[in-house]
Amino acid sequence: MRTIVVTVCSGTACYILGGSDLLTLRDHLEEPYSRHVMLAGSPCLNRCKDRSENKRPPYVTVDGKVYGNMTLETLVKTVQSVLDAS
Protein backbone atom coordinates (compact mmCIF):
# COMPACT_ATOMS: atom_id res chain seq x y z
CA MET A 1 0.00 0.00 0.00
CA ARG A 2 1.33 3.44 -0.90
CA THR A 3 1.19 6.40 1.42
CA ILE A 4 -1.02 9.21 0.15
CA VAL A 5 -1.57 12.82 1.12
CA VAL A 6 -5.06 13.98 2.05
CA THR A 7 -5.49 17.77 2.20
CA VAL A 8 -8.60 19.04 3.89
CA CYS A 9 -9.54 22.66 3.24
CA SER A 10 -10.02 24.65 6.43
CA GLY A 11 -10.99 27.90 4.73
CA THR A 12 -14.20 29.69 5.71
CA ALA A 13 -16.60 28.21 3.17
CA CYS A 14 -15.33 24.66 3.47
CA TYR A 15 -15.04 24.75 7.23
CA ILE A 16 -18.62 25.90 7.66
CA LEU A 17 -20.02 23.40 5.21
CA GLY A 18 -18.53 20.43 7.02
CA GLY A 19 -14.78 20.80 6.70
CA SER A 20 -14.46 20.93 10.46
CA ASP A 21 -15.56 17.27 10.65
CA LEU A 22 -13.27 16.25 7.85
CA LEU A 23 -10.30 17.47 9.87
CA THR A 24 -10.97 14.61 12.28
CA LEU A 25 -10.37 12.06 9.52
CA ARG A 26 -7.60 10.40 11.52
CA ASP A 27 -9.99 9.35 14.23
CA HIS A 28 -12.18 7.54 11.71
CA LEU A 29 -9.64 5.58 9.70
CA GLU A 30 -8.81 2.06 10.64
CA GLU A 31 -5.62 0.15 10.26
CA PRO A 32 -3.93 -0.37 7.90
CA TYR A 33 -5.34 2.69 6.13
CA SER A 34 -4.51 5.21 8.80
CA ARG A 35 -0.82 4.39 8.61
CA HIS A 36 -0.84 5.23 4.91
CA VAL A 37 -2.43 8.65 5.10
CA MET A 38 -0.62 11.91 5.63
CA LEU A 39 -3.22 14.45 6.64
CA ALA A 40 -2.69 18.12 5.88
CA GLY A 41 -4.79 21.27 5.99
CA SER A 42 -5.05 24.15 3.57
CA PRO A 43 -6.10 27.76 4.22
CA CYS A 44 -8.14 27.62 0.97
CA LEU A 45 -7.83 25.17 -1.89
CA ASN A 46 -9.05 27.92 -4.21
CA ARG A 47 -12.01 25.89 -5.38
CA CYS A 48 -14.65 27.81 -3.52
CA LYS A 49 -14.38 30.62 -6.06
CA ASP A 50 -14.57 28.39 -9.06
CA ARG A 51 -18.14 28.11 -10.23
CA SER A 52 -17.26 26.26 -13.41
CA GLU A 53 -17.19 22.88 -11.77
CA ASN A 54 -20.35 21.45 -10.48
CA LYS A 55 -18.96 20.87 -7.03
CA ARG A 56 -19.48 22.52 -3.71
CA PRO A 57 -17.49 22.98 -0.52
CA PRO A 58 -16.12 21.32 1.48
CA TYR A 59 -13.22 20.41 -0.75
CA VAL A 60 -10.54 17.83 -0.15
CA THR A 61 -7.68 16.56 -2.23
CA VAL A 62 -6.92 12.87 -2.02
CA ASP A 63 -3.67 11.85 -3.62
CA GLY A 64 -3.68 14.97 -5.77
CA LYS A 65 -7.27 14.69 -7.01
CA VAL A 66 -9.89 17.24 -5.89
CA TYR A 67 -13.21 16.17 -4.43
CA GLY A 68 -16.11 18.42 -3.46
CA ASN A 69 -19.29 17.91 -1.38
CA MET A 70 -17.34 15.76 1.02
CA THR A 71 -18.71 14.26 4.17
CA LEU A 72 -16.72 12.29 6.69
CA GLU A 73 -18.30 9.13 5.37
CA THR A 74 -17.58 9.74 1.70
CA LEU A 75 -14.06 10.89 2.56
CA VAL A 76 -13.30 7.70 4.50
CA LYS A 77 -14.66 5.62 1.62
CA THR A 78 -12.71 7.59 -0.99
CA VAL A 79 -9.47 7.24 0.95
CA GLN A 80 -10.00 3.53 1.40
CA SER A 81 -10.74 2.91 -2.26
CA VAL A 82 -7.78 4.97 -3.42
CA LEU A 83 -5.53 3.03 -1.07
CA ASP A 84 -7.09 -0.32 -2.01
CA ALA A 85 -6.42 0.39 -5.65
CA SER A 86 -2.80 1.24 -5.02
Binding site: C9, G11, I16, A40, G41, S42, P43, K49
Partner: protein, 394 residues
Protein backbone atom coordinates in the same frame (compact mmCIF):
# COMPACT_ATOMS: atom_id res chain seq x y z
CA UNK B 1 11.70 61.26 25.01
CA UNK B 2 10.04 60.42 21.73
CA UNK B 3 7.39 57.96 20.79
CA UNK B 4 7.33 56.00 23.98
CA UNK B 5 4.22 54.10 24.83
CA UNK B 6 3.19 54.37 28.46
CA UNK B 7 1.99 50.97 29.51
CA UNK B 8 0.15 51.15 32.80
CA UNK B 9 -1.46 48.32 34.65
CA UNK B 10 -2.43 47.34 38.14
CA UNK B 11 -2.95 44.34 40.35
CA UNK B 12 -5.25 44.42 43.35
CA UNK B 13 -5.90 41.85 46.01
CA UNK B 14 -8.69 42.45 48.46
CA UNK B 15 -8.17 42.06 52.18
CA UNK B 16 -9.02 38.56 53.33
CA UNK B 17 -12.69 38.24 54.30
CA UNK B 18 -13.78 41.38 52.40
CA UNK B 19 -15.58 41.24 49.15
CA UNK B 20 -14.98 44.79 48.06
CA UNK B 21 -11.59 46.37 47.70
CA UNK B 22 -11.01 49.57 49.65
CA UNK B 23 -8.30 50.67 47.22
CA UNK B 24 -9.43 52.18 43.94
CA UNK B 25 -7.33 52.62 40.84
CA UNK B 26 -8.58 54.72 37.94
CA UNK B 27 -6.77 55.09 34.66
CA UNK B 28 -7.47 57.14 31.60
CA UNK B 29 -5.57 57.40 28.37
CA UNK B 30 -6.35 60.42 26.23
CA UNK B 31 -6.71 58.88 22.81
CA UNK B 32 -5.55 61.83 20.69
CA UNK B 33 -2.43 62.68 22.65
CA UNK B 34 -1.41 59.45 24.35
CA UNK B 35 -1.33 61.22 27.73
CA UNK B 36 -2.03 58.94 30.69
CA UNK B 37 -3.67 60.05 33.93
CA UNK B 38 -3.99 57.62 36.81
CA UNK B 39 -4.98 57.81 40.46
CA UNK B 40 -4.62 55.21 43.19
CA UNK B 41 -6.61 55.94 46.31
CA UNK B 42 -6.73 53.96 49.53
CA UNK B 43 -9.90 54.48 51.57
CA UNK B 44 -9.63 54.26 55.31
CA UNK B 45 -10.55 50.86 56.69
CA UNK B 46 -11.79 48.23 54.30
CA UNK B 47 -14.91 47.06 52.54
CA UNK B 48 -17.70 49.16 51.10
CA UNK B 49 -17.09 52.33 53.08
CA UNK B 50 -13.42 52.40 52.15
CA UNK B 51 -14.31 51.71 48.55
CA UNK B 52 -16.78 54.57 48.33
CA UNK B 53 -14.30 57.02 49.80
CA UNK B 54 -11.47 55.86 47.61
CA UNK B 55 -13.71 56.02 44.58
CA UNK B 56 -14.71 59.55 45.40
CA UNK B 57 -11.10 60.60 45.88
CA UNK B 58 -9.72 58.88 42.80
CA UNK B 59 -12.62 60.19 40.73
CA UNK B 60 -11.92 63.75 41.78
CA UNK B 61 -8.22 63.33 41.10
CA UNK B 62 -8.89 62.09 37.61
CA UNK B 63 -11.41 64.75 36.74
CA UNK B 64 -9.34 67.62 38.02
CA UNK B 65 -6.16 66.42 36.37
CA UNK B 66 -7.86 65.81 33.04
CA UNK B 67 -9.45 69.23 33.18
CA UNK B 68 -5.88 70.47 33.20
CA UNK B 69 -5.96 72.99 36.01
CA UNK B 70 -3.16 73.69 38.48
CA UNK B 71 -2.04 70.50 40.23
CA UNK B 72 -1.60 72.13 43.61
CA UNK B 73 -5.03 73.71 43.58
CA UNK B 74 -6.50 70.39 42.50
CA UNK B 75 -4.88 68.53 45.32
CA UNK B 76 -5.97 71.11 47.84
CA UNK B 77 -9.49 70.94 46.53
CA UNK B 78 -9.51 67.17 47.00
CA UNK B 79 -8.25 67.41 50.55
CA UNK B 80 -10.75 70.11 51.39
CA UNK B 81 -13.57 68.02 50.03
CA UNK B 82 -12.59 64.87 51.86
CA UNK B 83 -14.10 64.59 55.28
CA UNK B 84 -11.89 64.06 58.28
CA UNK B 85 -12.61 61.04 60.40
CA UNK B 86 -14.21 62.13 63.67
CA UNK B 87 -12.60 59.52 65.87
CA UNK B 88 -9.16 59.24 64.39
CA UNK B 89 -8.89 62.80 63.13
CA UNK B 90 -7.16 61.69 59.99
CA UNK B 91 -8.27 61.97 56.48
CA UNK B 92 -10.52 59.35 55.00
CA UNK B 93 -8.53 58.50 51.93
CA UNK B 94 -5.00 58.77 50.62
CA UNK B 95 -4.04 59.11 46.99
CA UNK B 96 -1.24 59.10 44.45
CA UNK B 97 -1.89 60.83 41.15
CA UNK B 98 0.34 60.41 38.12
CA UNK B 99 -0.05 62.50 35.00
CA UNK B 100 2.27 61.31 32.24
CA UNK B 101 2.64 62.96 28.84
CA UNK B 102 3.69 60.88 25.85
CA UNK B 103 7.04 62.68 25.79
CA UNK B 104 7.70 61.37 29.30
CA UNK B 105 7.03 64.58 31.23
CA UNK B 106 5.50 63.40 34.49
CA UNK B 107 3.71 65.10 37.37
CA UNK B 108 3.18 63.21 40.59
CA UNK B 109 1.06 64.24 43.52
CA UNK B 110 1.33 62.02 46.57
CA UNK B 111 -0.70 62.14 49.71
CA UNK B 112 -0.06 59.61 52.45
CA UNK B 113 0.47 56.57 50.23
CA UNK B 114 3.86 54.84 50.29
CA UNK B 115 6.21 56.90 48.14
CA UNK B 116 6.29 56.12 44.46
CA UNK B 117 9.38 54.36 43.15
CA UNK B 118 10.95 55.67 39.99
CA UNK B 119 13.01 52.95 38.37
CA UNK B 120 15.71 53.56 35.82
CA UNK B 121 18.23 51.03 34.53
CA UNK B 122 17.04 48.48 37.07
CA UNK B 123 17.66 50.77 40.08
CA UNK B 124 15.10 52.62 42.15
CA UNK B 125 15.55 56.34 42.56
CA UNK B 126 13.60 59.13 44.14
CA UNK B 127 12.16 62.01 42.22
CA UNK B 128 12.87 65.39 43.73
CA UNK B 129 9.83 66.15 45.86
CA UNK B 130 8.47 69.43 47.04
CA UNK B 131 6.37 69.16 50.15
CA UNK B 132 3.34 71.33 50.52
CA UNK B 133 1.92 71.53 53.99
CA UNK B 134 -1.75 72.07 54.58
CA UNK B 135 -3.52 72.76 57.82
CA UNK B 136 -7.08 71.63 57.79
CA UNK B 137 -9.52 72.42 60.53
CA UNK B 138 -10.37 69.28 62.44
CA UNK B 139 -7.29 67.35 61.43
CA UNK B 140 -4.96 66.55 64.31
CA UNK B 141 -1.82 67.04 62.33
CA UNK B 142 -0.65 68.98 59.37
CA UNK B 143 -1.09 67.25 56.11
CA UNK B 144 1.69 66.88 53.63
CA UNK B 145 1.18 66.83 49.92
CA UNK B 146 4.22 65.92 47.86
CA UNK B 147 4.66 67.23 44.36
CA UNK B 148 7.25 66.19 41.84
CA UNK B 149 7.88 66.84 38.20
CA UNK B 150 10.39 64.82 36.22
CA UNK B 151 10.94 63.19 32.89
CA UNK B 152 10.50 59.50 32.21
CA UNK B 153 12.96 58.11 29.72
CA UNK B 154 12.37 55.05 27.56
CA UNK B 155 12.48 51.90 29.72
CA UNK B 156 11.82 53.87 32.95
CA UNK B 157 9.11 52.67 35.29
CA UNK B 158 7.01 53.98 38.14
CA UNK B 159 5.81 51.69 40.92
CA UNK B 160 2.89 52.97 43.00
CA UNK B 161 1.55 50.97 45.93
CA UNK B 162 -1.01 51.17 48.68
CA UNK B 163 0.19 50.60 52.22
CA UNK B 164 -1.15 47.05 52.07
CA UNK B 165 2.03 46.38 50.09
CA UNK B 166 4.51 48.40 52.17
CA UNK B 167 3.11 47.09 55.46
CA UNK B 168 2.64 43.51 54.33
CA UNK B 169 4.05 40.91 56.65
CA UNK B 170 4.05 43.26 59.61
CA UNK B 171 4.61 41.38 62.84
CA UNK B 172 5.93 38.30 61.13
CA UNK B 173 9.39 37.03 61.87
CA UNK B 174 11.02 37.97 58.56
CA UNK B 175 9.37 41.42 58.56
CA UNK B 176 8.59 42.55 62.10
CA UNK B 177 8.01 46.11 60.87
CA UNK B 178 6.46 45.09 57.61
CA UNK B 179 8.00 44.69 54.20
CA UNK B 180 8.50 48.46 53.99
CA UNK B 181 9.69 50.51 51.10
CA UNK B 182 13.15 49.05 51.39
CA UNK B 183 11.86 45.50 50.96
CA UNK B 184 9.80 46.58 47.99
CA UNK B 185 12.76 48.34 46.40
CA UNK B 186 15.00 45.30 46.76
CA UNK B 187 12.32 43.07 45.32
CA UNK B 188 11.66 45.32 42.30
CA UNK B 189 15.38 45.50 41.57
CA UNK B 190 15.70 41.74 41.92
CA UNK B 191 12.86 41.10 39.45
CA UNK B 192 14.25 43.59 36.96
CA UNK B 193 17.68 42.01 37.13
CA UNK B 194 16.04 38.76 36.04
CA UNK B 195 13.73 40.23 33.44
CA UNK B 196 14.55 43.76 32.36
CA UNK B 197 11.62 43.90 29.93
CA UNK B 198 8.88 42.62 32.19
CA UNK B 199 5.50 44.17 31.33
CA UNK B 200 3.74 46.59 33.66
CA UNK B 201 1.01 44.05 34.15
CA UNK B 202 3.35 41.23 35.17
CA UNK B 203 5.47 43.38 37.45
CA UNK B 204 2.40 44.73 39.27
CA UNK B 205 1.12 41.18 39.67
CA UNK B 206 4.42 39.88 41.01
CA UNK B 207 4.64 42.64 43.61
CA UNK B 208 1.05 42.17 44.78
CA UNK B 209 1.50 38.43 45.00
CA UNK B 210 4.67 38.83 46.97
CA UNK B 211 2.90 41.16 49.40
CA UNK B 212 0.17 38.56 49.95
CA UNK B 213 2.84 35.94 50.50
CA UNK B 214 4.41 38.23 53.14
CA UNK B 215 1.03 38.29 54.85
CA UNK B 216 0.96 34.50 54.98
CA UNK B 217 -1.22 34.14 51.84
CA UNK B 218 -4.19 35.95 53.35
CA UNK B 219 -4.05 39.69 52.66
CA UNK B 220 -4.29 41.64 55.92
CA UNK B 221 -5.13 44.87 54.15
CA UNK B 222 -6.21 45.72 50.61
CA UNK B 223 -3.17 45.33 48.43
CA UNK B 224 -2.72 47.40 45.27
CA UNK B 225 0.21 47.82 43.01
CA UNK B 226 0.29 49.99 39.90
CA UNK B 227 3.15 50.04 37.43
CA UNK B 228 3.79 52.47 34.60
CA UNK B 229 6.33 51.43 31.99
CA UNK B 230 7.59 53.74 29.22
CA UNK B 231 8.62 51.57 26.34
CA UNK B 232 8.90 51.40 22.61
CA UNK B 233 5.43 50.61 21.34
CA UNK B 234 4.72 47.03 20.35
CA UNK B 235 3.32 47.18 16.88
CA UNK B 236 1.15 44.65 15.12
CA UNK B 237 -0.05 44.52 11.53
CA UNK B 238 -3.20 42.55 10.77
CA UNK B 239 -3.81 41.84 7.09
CA UNK B 240 -7.22 40.50 6.20
CA UNK B 241 -8.79 40.08 2.79
CA UNK B 242 -7.26 40.17 -0.68
CA UNK B 243 -6.59 43.61 -2.21
CA UNK B 244 -9.28 44.91 -4.56
CA UNK B 245 -6.99 44.73 -7.56
CA UNK B 246 -5.00 41.57 -8.01
CA UNK B 247 -2.07 43.84 -8.85
CA UNK B 248 -2.11 44.92 -5.20
CA UNK B 249 -1.01 41.48 -4.03
CA UNK B 250 2.70 42.09 -4.45
CA UNK B 251 2.45 45.46 -2.76
CA UNK B 252 0.63 44.00 0.23
CA UNK B 253 3.19 41.23 0.57
CA UNK B 254 6.01 43.72 0.40
CA UNK B 255 4.62 46.15 2.89
CA UNK B 256 3.99 43.26 5.26
CA UNK B 257 7.54 42.03 4.87
CA UNK B 258 8.89 45.47 5.71
CA UNK B 259 6.61 46.12 8.65
CA UNK B 260 8.57 46.94 11.82
CA UNK B 261 6.57 44.79 14.22
CA UNK B 262 4.57 41.59 14.48
CA UNK B 263 2.40 40.36 11.62
CA UNK B 264 -0.87 38.49 11.57
CA UNK B 265 -2.76 37.25 8.53
CA UNK B 266 -6.47 36.58 8.90
CA UNK B 267 -8.02 34.89 5.92
CA UNK B 268 -7.36 31.88 3.72
CA UNK B 269 -7.07 33.78 0.47
CA UNK B 270 -4.85 36.41 2.06
CA UNK B 271 -2.63 33.66 3.47
CA UNK B 272 -2.38 32.06 0.03
CA UNK B 273 -1.42 35.38 -1.54
CA UNK B 274 1.29 36.09 1.00
CA UNK B 275 2.55 32.52 0.83
CA UNK B 276 2.81 32.77 -2.96
CA UNK B 277 4.48 36.19 -2.90
CA UNK B 278 6.89 35.31 -0.12
CA UNK B 279 7.48 31.92 -1.60
CA UNK B 280 6.98 30.27 1.74
CA UNK B 281 4.52 27.41 2.42
CA UNK B 282 1.56 27.56 4.84
CA UNK B 283 1.10 24.69 7.28
CA UNK B 284 -2.25 24.29 8.98
CA UNK B 285 -1.90 23.33 12.64
CA UNK B 286 -3.98 20.18 12.69
CA UNK B 287 -3.02 19.47 16.28
CA UNK B 288 -5.24 22.34 17.43
CA UNK B 289 -8.08 20.29 18.85
CA UNK B 290 -10.46 23.07 19.79
CA UNK B 291 -12.66 23.34 16.74
CA UNK B 292 -14.88 26.30 17.51
CA UNK B 293 -13.01 28.17 14.78
CA UNK B 294 -10.82 26.86 11.94
CA UNK B 295 -7.29 25.94 13.01
CA UNK B 296 -4.48 28.48 12.82
CA UNK B 297 -1.55 27.96 10.47
CA UNK B 298 2.13 28.79 10.36
CA UNK B 299 3.94 30.69 7.65
CA UNK B 300 7.53 31.78 8.02
CA UNK B 301 7.69 35.54 8.53
CA UNK B 302 4.19 35.79 10.01
CA UNK B 303 3.55 35.58 13.73
CA UNK B 304 0.05 34.20 13.29
CA UNK B 305 -2.08 32.96 10.40
CA UNK B 306 -5.78 32.34 10.86
CA UNK B 307 -8.93 31.91 8.83
CA UNK B 308 -10.88 35.15 8.25
CA UNK B 309 -14.53 35.79 9.09
CA UNK B 310 -15.24 33.15 11.71
CA UNK B 311 -12.03 33.85 13.57
CA UNK B 312 -12.44 37.62 13.45
CA UNK B 313 -16.04 37.28 14.64
CA UNK B 314 -15.00 35.12 17.56
CA UNK B 315 -12.11 37.46 18.35
CA UNK B 316 -14.42 40.48 18.45
CA UNK B 317 -16.59 38.55 20.89
CA UNK B 318 -13.65 37.60 23.12
CA UNK B 319 -12.42 41.18 23.24
CA UNK B 320 -15.86 42.66 23.90
CA UNK B 321 -16.46 40.18 26.71
CA UNK B 322 -13.07 40.91 28.25
CA UNK B 323 -12.13 37.28 28.00
CA UNK B 324 -9.70 36.26 30.71
CA UNK B 325 -6.77 34.67 29.00
CA UNK B 326 -5.96 31.03 29.52
CA UNK B 327 -2.46 30.47 28.40
CA UNK B 328 -1.77 28.60 26.17
CA UNK B 329 -4.57 29.70 23.86
CA UNK B 330 -6.76 26.84 22.67
CA UNK B 331 -7.72 28.07 19.22
CA UNK B 332 -6.92 30.62 16.55
CA UNK B 333 -9.30 33.29 17.90
CA UNK B 334 -7.75 33.09 21.36
CA UNK B 335 -4.28 33.31 19.84
CA UNK B 336 -5.28 36.39 17.87
CA UNK B 337 -6.89 37.96 20.94
CA UNK B 338 -3.71 37.51 22.97
CA UNK B 339 -1.59 38.93 20.17
CA UNK B 340 -3.86 41.98 19.90
CA UNK B 341 -3.85 42.49 23.64
CA UNK B 342 -0.10 42.37 24.02
CA UNK B 343 0.33 45.01 21.28
CA UNK B 344 0.12 48.76 21.81
CA UNK B 345 -0.52 49.86 18.25
CA UNK B 346 -2.44 47.78 15.78
CA UNK B 347 -2.68 48.58 12.07
CA UNK B 348 -5.32 46.77 10.05
CA UNK B 349 -4.93 46.39 6.32
CA UNK B 350 -8.28 45.35 4.96
CA UNK B 351 -8.58 43.99 1.44
CA UNK B 352 -11.82 44.79 -0.32
CA UNK B 353 -11.97 42.16 -3.06
CA UNK B 354 -15.27 40.39 -2.68
CA UNK B 355 -14.88 36.75 -1.88
CA UNK B 356 -17.34 35.09 -4.22
CA UNK B 357 -17.77 32.11 -1.96
CA UNK B 358 -19.40 34.16 0.78
CA UNK B 359 -21.99 35.54 -1.54
CA UNK B 360 -23.35 32.17 -2.33
CA UNK B 361 -26.96 32.46 -1.11
CA UNK B 362 -27.04 28.81 -0.17
CA UNK B 363 -24.39 29.16 2.49
CA UNK B 364 -26.24 28.57 5.72
CA UNK B 365 -24.85 31.40 7.74
CA UNK B 366 -24.66 35.11 7.81
CA UNK B 367 -21.20 36.47 7.56
CA UNK B 368 -20.90 40.00 8.77
CA UNK B 369 -18.78 41.84 6.31
CA UNK B 370 -15.13 42.17 7.08
CA UNK B 371 -15.44 45.86 7.62
CA UNK B 372 -18.00 45.54 10.37
CA UNK B 373 -15.93 42.94 12.17
CA UNK B 374 -12.79 45.04 11.98
CA UNK B 375 -14.75 48.04 13.28
CA UNK B 376 -15.95 46.01 16.26
CA UNK B 377 -12.46 44.78 17.02
CA UNK B 378 -11.00 48.28 16.75
CA UNK B 379 -13.65 49.72 19.00
CA UNK B 380 -13.02 47.09 21.67
CA UNK B 381 -9.25 47.56 21.43
CA UNK B 382 -9.54 51.32 21.80
CA UNK B 383 -12.25 51.58 24.41
CA UNK B 384 -11.55 48.58 26.61
CA UNK B 385 -7.84 48.02 26.15
CA UNK B 386 -6.73 51.60 25.40
CA UNK B 387 -4.82 50.59 22.26
CA UNK B 388 -4.05 52.80 19.32
CA UNK B 389 -5.41 51.43 16.07
CA UNK B 390 -5.67 52.47 12.45
CA UNK B 391 -7.05 50.92 9.32
CA UNK B 392 -6.19 51.07 5.63
CA UNK B 393 -8.41 49.69 2.89
CA UNK B 394 -6.61 48.23 -0.09
Amino acid sequence: MNNSFIEMDSCQITKGGQRICGDVFLLERVAESGRVVATLSDGMGSGVKANVLANLTAGMGQRFALAGSDMRKNAEAILNTLPVCRERKISYATFTLADIQPDGSTHLVEYDNPLTLWVRGGTCKDPERRAHIMERPGAFREEVLQFSHFSLQPEDRLVICSDGVAQSGMGTKPHPLGWRESGLRDYVEEILSQDARISARDLAKKIAQRAVANDGYQARDDISCVVAYARTPRKLLVATGPPYEASGDAELAQSMAQYPGKRAICGGTTASIISREWNSPVHVNLDERDRSVPPSATLEGADLVTEGMLTLGKTAELLENRWEADIPAKNAAEKLTLLLRESDEVSFVVGTRINEAHHDPTLPFELGIRRTLIDRIRRALELIYLKKTDVTYV
